[in-house]
C-alpha cells in the first residue's frame, strides 16, 4: 500500500540546492563551504560521524538555522522570500523531539494536520505510520520505534514534496530500525524526495540512492553507495593480524590471552614490512589499524592464497584472519583514517 504524491508541481529543477554554505558556532566551524544538489524523487543521505555537521546542514535546509554565508534553495524557493509556502510543502522530522506524553497518537496527528492547508487524512497518516493499534494510546506508552514512526507520520501529514529525516533510527533496536526502513522504502516508491542524515553506514547503503559522506563540516565524498565503495579500489576487505613464527614458539608456554596481547604489541607488529604486501597482484590498498592489517582486494579467491604465501615467506604466522564485503564504513575509513563511530 503506497500513498502516491498527489500534487503536480511545475518546478522540475533540483529539489534542494545548496551553494557555498558555511556556518560557525563561535570557534567551531560546523559547516564549511558546502555545495550540494538533490534531484527530484531522489533519496539522499548525509552520512558521517557525530559532530560532522550533518544536523547543522539539515537544519539550515529546514530553515531552522541561518547560514553565515551561502544560499539555500528548496523546490526553487528560498527561505527569505517564501518561508510560508515552503513550510507547507516540506515535511520535517527532527532529532529528539518529544511529543507530549499525555496526548494520544490520533490527537497529535490531528494537531499537526491542522497546520497544513492541504495534506493527507489523519487516518491515512496513522496507516502509513502503522500505528492503527495505537491510535488512542497516549504517547507516553509508546515504544521508541512507535514514537519514531509517529514523528515520521507527523512529517507526512502535509503530503510533502520534500521530506527531511534527521537520524530517523538512532537509538532504535534492530527490529524497529528495519521496520522504519520499510516505511522509508514506501515513501521512496511514492516518489517523494527524501533527505536523511545517519551515522549508520548500513542504513545509508540500504536506503539512499546517493550518499554524501561528511566530515568536519565538508562533504568529502559524493556518489551512489556502489560508486563510493568502488572508489576504495576493491570489493572485499581482508583483515588479519600476524606475529613472527619464532616469537610464536617462544610464546608457546604462555596462556592464550597473554599471547594475544603480545601479537598486538608494537614489537610483534613492527616486523611486518607492508611493501611486499602492496606488491601482491589484486591488492588495492593496505593500512594498519590497532594491530589489524586491512587490505582491500578485488577477487578473494585469487588474492587471498597469495597473501598467505607472502606472509609465510616473511616468516609470519597468522593469529587472526577474516574478510568482508567493502562497505561505506571502509570508504570513510579509507578517506579519513578514522572509524565512523570513533567518538
Amino acid at each position: 500500500m503506497v500513498h502516491t504524491l498527489s500534487n503536480g508541481s511545475k518546478y522540475d529543477g533540483p529539489s534542494l540546492s545548496l551553494s557555498g554554505l558555511r556556518k560557525t558556532f563561535g570557534e567551531v566551524v560546523a559547516v564549511d563551504h558546502l555545495d550540494l544538489e538533490v534531484m527530484r524523487g531522489e533519496c539522499f543521505g548525509l552520512l558521517g560521524p557525530n559532530g560532522a555537521g550533518k544536523t547543522t546542514t539539515i537544519e539550515i535546509c529546514e530553515g531552522l538555522t541561518d547560514p553565515d554565508v551561502g544560499t539555500v534553495k528548496l523546490l526553487g524557493l528560498s527561505w527569505k522570500t517564501s518561508a510560508r509556502e515552503l513550510r507547507q510543502r516540506i515535511g520535517i522530522q527532527l532529532q529528539e523531539t518529544q511529543f507530549p506524553d499525555k496526548l494520544t497518537v490520533e490527537e497529535t496527528l490531528r494537531l499537526f494536520r491542522s497546520f497544513f492547508r492541504r495534506g493527507i487524512a489523519v487516518e491515512e497518516a496513522i496507516r502509513i505510520g502503522q500505528l492503527e493499534e495505537k491510535r488512542t494510546a497516549r504517547i507516553g506508552g509508546l515504544s521508541g520505534g512507535q514514537k519514531q514512526r509517529l514523528a515520521m507520520a507527523c512529517a507526512l501529514v502535509g503530503d510533502p514534496e520534500l521530506l527531511f529525516l534527521d537520524e530517523p533510527t538512532t537509538g532504535l533496536d534492530p527490529q524497529a530500525r528495519r521496520h522504519l526502513w520499510d516505511l522509508v522504502d514506501d515513501l521512496k516508491r511514492a516518489g517523494r524526495t527524501i533527505i536523511l542524515t545517519t551515522h549508520y553506514m548500513d542504513e545509508a547503503e540500504r536506503l539512499c540512492d546517493r550518499v554524501g559522506i561528511m566530515d568536519h563540516g565538508r562533504i568529502i565524498a559524493l556518489g551512489t553507495p556502489a560508486q563510493l565503495i568502488a572508489s576504495v579500489g576493491g570489493e572485499h576487505v581482508v583483515e588479519f593480524a600476524v606475529m613472527r613464527s619464532d616469537a610464536m614458539r617462544s610464546d608457546a608456554m604462555r596462556s592464550d590471552a597473554m599471547r594475544s596481547d603480545a601479537v598486538r604489541s608494537d614489537a610483534a607488529r613492527g616486523d611486518l614490512d607492508a611493501a611486499p604486501l602492496k606488491e601482491i597482484p589484486g591488492v588495492q590498498s593496505h593500512r594498519v589499524d590497532a594491530g589489524l592489517h586491512q587490505v582491500s582486494v578485488k577477487d578473494l579467491h585469487t588474492t587471498v592464497p597469495r597473501i598467505f604465501s607472502a606472509l609465510a615467506g616473511m616468516g609470519m604466522h597468522l593469529t587472526e584472519f577474516r574478510t568482508h564485503s567493502a562497505s561505506l564504513e571502509d570508504v570513510f575509513v579509507g578517506l579519513t583514517g578514522r572509524n565512523l563511530r570513533d567518538e
Binding site: I92, L94, E96, T97, S114, F115, C154, G158
Partner: protein, 343 residues
C-alpha cells in the same frame, strides 16, 4: 473532519486544555487548593461568641468580685502560681491584693490582657461601690463583609489567578522547549502567534471554571458578599488573568530548563505574596515602598476585587487599578514577542 477540527487555533487550544485536564496535580493546585485554603482560614477565623477572659486573683473577695463580671472567669492562686500562670498564658491578668489597694499584673501589649484589665478594673470598682455617672447601652452587630474571611477571599482569588496563569504558562512552555517540541512546532507551518494565543484562550476557559467554583464556594459556605456587578467582577478577573498570563509568557520566554523557570516564577511571585495584601492590608507597609507595592499587578488586582466584592464599587471608580493591570498585559507581552526563544 469538521471546519472547527481543521482550524489550527482550535486544535492548539483544545490540545492545551486536554493536557491540562490530564495533569491531576495541576487540577489540584488550580481548583482544589484555593478552596482548601479558604476552608482552613474560614475555620480559623470564624466568628465566635465574645471570649471569656481567664484571670487570677490572690484573695477570695477579689476572686469573687472579678467572677461577677460576665466577661471574666476568675481563679484564686498565690503569687508564685499566678506569676507562673501569666507566664505560660493560662491567664491574661493577675490581680494582687495589697494593703494599699490592688495591683494588676498583665502584658500591656496583648489586646486580650488589656481588655481583661478594663473589665477587672470595672468589676473591682463596682464591687467596692462605684456607681456609673452616665447610663449606657450596647447594640451588637455581626455584619457580613467586615469579617476576616470576607477580606481574605478576594485576596485568595487574586493569588489564585496569579498562580494558575504563571504556572500554567511557564511550565508548559518551558517543558515544550526542553523537549524540543517548540522547535518541532516552528518547523511546521503553524503560525507562531497562534501558539501564544492558544495558551491565553485555554487560560480564559479555565478562568471561568476557576472563578465560578471558588467565588461560588466562598459565597455558599461563608456567605462572602459580592456587592458589585457580576459583569465588573468578570472584567476584573479577565484583565487580571491576562496580565498574569502575559507575565507568565515573559518568564517562560527564555528559560531552557524547568529548574530555571520555577526559580524565576518564585522570584516573581514571592514579593507579591508578601506585599500585595493577600492576607493583610497592603497599606501596612511603610510609605516609602507604597509606590512599588501599588504598582504590582497583584496589588491592583486584589484592590479591584475587594472594592467590587466588599464595597460594591463600580469599574468606573477603579480606573487606576485597571490601568495598572492593562500595563501589565501590554508591556510583558510586547517584550515576550521580541525575546521569545523558539528552540
Amino acid at each position: 473532519m469538521s471546519r472547527l477540527d481543521e482550524s489550527s487555533l482550535y486544535q492548539l487550544t483544545s490540545t492545551r486544555f486536554r493536557l491540562f485536564l490530564r495533569e491531576p496535580e495541576a487540577i489540584f493546585w488550580v481548583f482544589i487548593f484555593p478552596i482548601l485554603l479558604a476552608v482552613g482560614l474560614g475555620i480559623a477565623f470564624r466568628n465566635r461568641p465574645a471570649d471569656v477572659l481567664p484571670v487570677g486573683a490572690t484573695t477570695p473577695q477579689l476572686t469573687q468580685a472579678l467572677a461577677a463580671d460576665k466577661g471574666l472567669s476568675a481563679a484564686m492562686m498565690d503569687e508564685a502560681a499566678g506569676t507562673h500562670a501569666l507566664a505560660i498564658g493560662t491567664i491574661d491578668l493577675f490581680a494582687i491584693q495589697r494593703t494599699d489597694g490592688v495591683v494588676y499584673k498583665y502584658d500591656n501589649t496583648n489586646p486580650d490582657a488589656r481588655s481583661a484589665r478594663l473589665l477587672a478594673e470595672r468589676a473591682v470598682q463596682s464591687a467596692a461601690g462605684r456607681r456609673d455617672a452616665v447610663v449606657t447601652q450596647n447594640e451588637f452587630i455581626h455584619e457580613t463583609g467586615a469579617r476576616y474571611i470576607d477580606f481574605v477571599v478576594p485576596g485568595l482569588l487574586g493569588m489564585n489567578l496569579m498562580g494558575s496563569a504563571i504556572w500554567g504558562m511557564g511550565f508548559a512552555i518551558v517543558e515544550a522547549r526542553q523537549k524540543k517540541l517548540l522547535k518541532r512546532m516552528v518547523a511546521s507551518p503553524m503560525p507562531r502567534w497562534q501558539y501564544m494565543a492558544s495558551f491565553i484562550l485555554s487560560r480564559l476557559v479555565m478562568l471561568v471554571i476557576e472563578v465560578v467554583v471558588f467565588v461560588g464556594f466562598a459565597r455558599l459556605a461563608f456567605g462572602v458578599p459580592i456587592r458589585g456587578s457580576f459583569f465588573d467582577l468578570a472584567v476584573i478577573c479577565l484583565i487580571t488573568s491576562l496580565a498574569f498570563s502575559s507575565l507568565g509568557l515573559l518568564i517562560a520566554s527564555r528559560a531552557k530548563t524547568m529548574e530555571a523557570a520555577s526559580g524565576l516564577m518564585n522570584l516573581v511571585m514571592l514579593p507579591m505574596w508578601i506585599l500585595s495584601g493577600v492576607f493583610f492590608s497592603a497599606t501596612r507597609f511603610p510609605a516609602v515602598i507604597q509606590p512599588l507595592v501599588r504598582a504590582l499587578p497583584l496589588t491592583a488586582a486584589i484592590d479591584a476585587l475587594r472594592s467590587n466584592m466588599l464595597q460594591g464599587i463600580g469599574l468606573n471608580h477603579l480606573l487606576m487599578s485597571v490601568a495598572i493591570l492593562l500595563a501589565w498585559v501590554v508591556v510583558p507581552f510586547s517584550v515576550t514577542m521580541k525575546i521569545f526563544r523558539w528552540r
